[in-house]
């Protein structure tokens, strides 16, 4: 088989395997079926919360009819947190002072994004396949249908966003997912202390030799509980009561301190 023929074959496989895999997952299994489970489905933020590790376990189910794969399995787990619009600004010299001059708006971007894979994603699949299946941070941040020339100006901002969010733990890309047995894998992703509350979607994709095999999606929630939730509820539902209470507490604490520390 020539290199050209094989690359064409892979392209064709890419286009047809996704619907095929979905049909098969629903019907009697001939291809692989992916079953995943999270270590937790609800993360409660309490007064001592300072970040947590969440693990995803996956089993690749096969039966006798499933054809054997040439290449070993690769897994890419993508976690997408609640979405918001993010502004990236750049300071530039104007005269002799530095001011924010240029900015780019990233609309509806997950605040938390984690990609945990068995190998670096650019070794697992081609760029085309990564963009098609949304694998890796680059694919996640690249808007679909934008031509490369126009997009070049945005690349700096995308890179800065990736770097800054990487530093504060909101963007994670690492290849620490492991197969604990030939068909069972585990991927752990860290939620930082500043992670937002809301719904997190976890998507696991199995590939083999750069070809799509199966995909499974699950979700978990990050919620505030008890005192934390009560504070937020009061602040939003009864803002006047909340404000007056805060003001009253200030007066009380200020007065208490005077009494406690009174020496003369």
């Amino acid at each position: 088989m020539t290199a050209r023929a094989s690359s064409r074959g892979r392209g064709a496989a890419l286009r047809c395997t996704l619907p095929l895999a979905l049909t098969l997952a629903a019907g009697p299994a001939r291809g692989e079926n992916l079953v995943t489970s999270l270590s937790t489905t609800q993360i409660a933020i309490t007064s001592t919360y300072s970040g947590v590790d969440v693990a995803l376990f996956g089993v690749i189910e096969k039966d006798l009819a499933t054809p054997a794969r040439q290449a070993p399995y690769d897994v890419v787990v993508t976690v997408r947190g609640p979405r918001a619009t993010t502004l990236v600004r750049e300071k530039q010299r104007l005269g002799f002072v530095y001011v924010n001059r240029r900015q780019r708006r990233f609309v509806d971007l997950p605040i938390y994004l984690a990609v945990v894979s068995t190998r670096p994603v650019d070794e697992i699949a081609s760029r085309q396949a990564r963009l098609a299946y949304g694998l890796g941070l680059e694919a996640e941040l690249t808007p679909p249908g934008v031509d490369a020339a126009r997009d070049a100006a945005n690349a700096r901002f995308r890179e800065a966003l990736r770097r800054l969010n990487g530093e504060n733990g909101l963007f994670v890309e690492k290849s620490t997912a492991r197969f604990v047995s030939p068909n069972v894998f585990r991927a752990t992703f860290p939620l930082p202390a500043t992670t937002p509350v809301g719904r997190y979607q976890v998507e696991a994709t199995v590939l083999s030799g750069g070809t799509f095999v199966a995909r499974s999606s699950t979700r978990f929630h990050v919620v505030k509980t008890g005192f934390e939730q009560a504070v937020v509820d009061l602040a939003h539902n009864q803002p006047l009561v909340y404000g007056l209470a805060a003001a009253a507490l200030s007066l009380l604490f200020g007065w208490t301190a005077t009494v406690v520390f009174r020496r003369d």
Partner: protein, 308 residues
């Protein structure tokens, strides 16, 4: 020990916050200033969003000033009447300042306006105060007695209409200049997110020649009233007051304020002015550096719009 802040959505070290509260509370009570211009940068440095830092520290400032006010009132170093006049002018100025602030934000580049205002205001006032202090110290060293204010000798603005008698301040003066100054301070305070004590104190000292001990207590009283109102306004309009953050800062702040108030009473008038001048000037220089030094990281991230 880490504790999770429910509104700021992040954990912080309790002891670090307590120490910061105590340090700022000490300086605040010593000079009769709110200390907002010191606390805001510290909180932002910890990673707390600027808007939440500004909103939450209003209630912290209120608690610190409450302690300070009670302390000065007990020593008779508080002119309640003057404080009430200043609060009235300040309240009107604050409302106007908030409106101006929102208008500027819609036009963009608000951050630049704030930094430049900090540099100009702090640099200008700090320099004025420093020059005045150094001249006073210089003449004191050469043994030249400086002229004290004599009875019946006033600048022109004291003689405007609507004169009132302020016993504690040893003054019979028009309320118009006080209202005007308080308005301007309330305005600048709302735009810059500071209490404005650092303008109020030197103004009362230099323009109205009110005794230093009365100035601090009265300024704190005005700050207390303004910040109580600001706490409620922030809570109602933007829901950004983090009561847990505020309470930790309060506990540290009232502790520091106790010692600050005593230290302030012990300071000599000239030393007091010199230290305050240096403090204000240092903040001005800090913001100037931020403006002209090439930033280490030119990019910054800001989350806008609702999360979903």
């Amino acid at each position: 020990m880490e504790i999770y802040l429910p509104i700021a959505d992040m954990p912080v070290n309790v002891f670090l916050l307590l120490a910061m509260g105590a340090a700022v509370g000490f300086i605040s009570a010593m000079f009769g200033i709110s200390g907002g211009f010191l606390m805001t940068p510290l909180l932002i440095f910890l990673g707390i969003p600027a808007a939440i830092a500004v909103a939450s520290q209003t209630s912290q400032i209120a608690a610190s000033s409450m302690t300070g006010v009670l302390g000065y009132a007990r020593r008779g170093a508080l002119d309640l009447k003057l404080g009430a006049v200043l609060t009235l002018g300040g309240a009107v100025g604050t409302v106007a300042g908030v409106a101006f602030f929102n208008a500027m934000r819609r036009l963009g580049q608000l951050e630049l306006v704030i930094v430049v205002s900090y540099v100009v205001l702090f640099g200008f006032i700090g320099t004025l105060m420093l020059v005045e202090s150094l001249r006073a110290l210089w003449s004191a060293r050469r043994g030249v007695a400086r002229r004290r204010r004599r009875g019946g000798e006033h600048p022109w603005y004291v003689g405007l209409p609507l004169r009132m008698r302020f016993y504690r301040s040893k003054l019979y003066a028009s309320v118009i200049p006080f209202l005007a100054v308080a308005f301007l301070i309330g305005f600048a305070g709302a735009v810059l997110g500071v209490g404005g004590g650092f303008i109020m104190v030197p103004t009362l000292l230099y323009l109205f020649r009110i005794p230093a001990t009365v100035v601090v207590g009265t300024s704190l009283f005005q700050i207390l009233c303004t910040m109580l109102g600001a706490t409620v306004l922030h809570a109602v309009t933007n829901q950004l007051v983090d009561v847990v953050l505020a309470l930790i800062l309060v506990v540290g702040g009232v502790f520091g304020a106790q010692f600050g108030a005593r230290a302030g009473q012990r300071l000599g008038g000239e030393t007091f002015r010199l230290l305050l001048a240096l403090l204000v000037l240092a903040v001005g220089v800090r913001f100037a550096l931020e403006l002209v030094v090439q930033p280490h990281e030119p990019f910054s991230i800001m989350r806008v719009g609702p999360e979903r």
